[in-house]
Symmetry: C2
Subunit: 218 residues, 2 copies
Amino acid sequence: MRLAELSRRSGVPTATIKYYLREGLLPPGRRVTATQAEYDDTHLQRLRLVRALVQVGRVPIASARVVLTALEDDSLDHNSRLGTAVWALPHGPEAAADDPSQEAARRTVDALLERLGWQNAREYGADSPAYRMLVTAVGTLARLGYPCGVADLAPYAHAGRQLAVADLDLIERYESPDEQLEAAVALTVLYEPVLLSLRRMAQAEESNLRYGPEATQA
Amino acid sequence: MRLAELSRRSGVPTATIKYYLREGLLPPGRRVTATQAEYDDTHLQRLRLVRALVQVGRVPIASARVVLTALEDDSLDHNSRLGTAVWALPHGPEAAADDPSQEAARRTVDALLERLGWQNAREYGADSPAYRMLVTAVGTLARLGYPCGVADLAPYAHAGRQLAVADLDLIERYESPDEQLEAAVALTVLYEPVLLSLRRMAQAEESNLRYGPEATQA
């Protein structure tokens, strides 16, 4: 298909597609004349992922390029490609290395991972951006006067574990390994607001049960 | 205590405290001379919450003021104050009302809530910002080519329900109703990165189990 049809079928304006092509987020089409190129379903599929990352996940263009490069890295196996791509996603601001709350937070997180037996996380430690994100969050909680220990974190880790099973089950519905990798990255980002909104709605349910007009303890 | 001590004990610069006072995020101290005021532990505690909201949660000042006003509204009971405060937190951008993906997303969310039997959420419907956040997320998934139905969302809702129980258990450790309300708002915001980082770490564990070098299906 030509650029105009790629735009129509994807719902992405042609100027935006040209921008993604220039930035290397979308592979070039097959050139058919000096001024025209031909695109196919792989472009359509890749546009879907780029929009998920850039428009919804607010992933910076440079980070998106790293994510997409990892997905195409033939030197890595499926598991490593997925890990590399998810590591390249934004993980929020990190605490300064000299923040005194960070050292205690690191010990708490390490103790949690040991108790959980999460081998992968223990192996990569601070090389993993998700590990650093967790240490920053635990350190911030302590610094603001809401210290949390291993026992406080455990229910969130157990929920995370269940979510990961649901995530990978969803992803395995896609047939080809390439589609699975794209879906893994897109759904990691796109299900975050699903999860956070459901947690807030569930809090209201639980609060109502405990403190609402029909609660027995009211 | 005087302003300087409030600054020292909270770790918040005096200029920032003065800004919070001017913006109404912190109640005025008890005036002792024409130029000096006396602050107490309630100010220290309130500063903790303001920092959680503004510095970590990136809640806009105007929204933070609405959250704090709700917490102090004597005309509301405990459950309603909590609900009003959490509703005032940011919930992300909402889809345009005329977005065609939204109507189908709303039906999916309504069917999910009916299946879950979440009375509070069904009662408030689109008045609840968390409901609108979920509809936007489900609509975006569909629009980007990752449609999700009630069965896909159910595991995330079940995880949300367990998280809400953990959240309210944490909050009930605080003794006074006022402290509980402040903790509820702060922990809703501060545990979001905890949850999202643990989900990403758990994904790596699950991916390693399914596709890693020691996976049986490898």
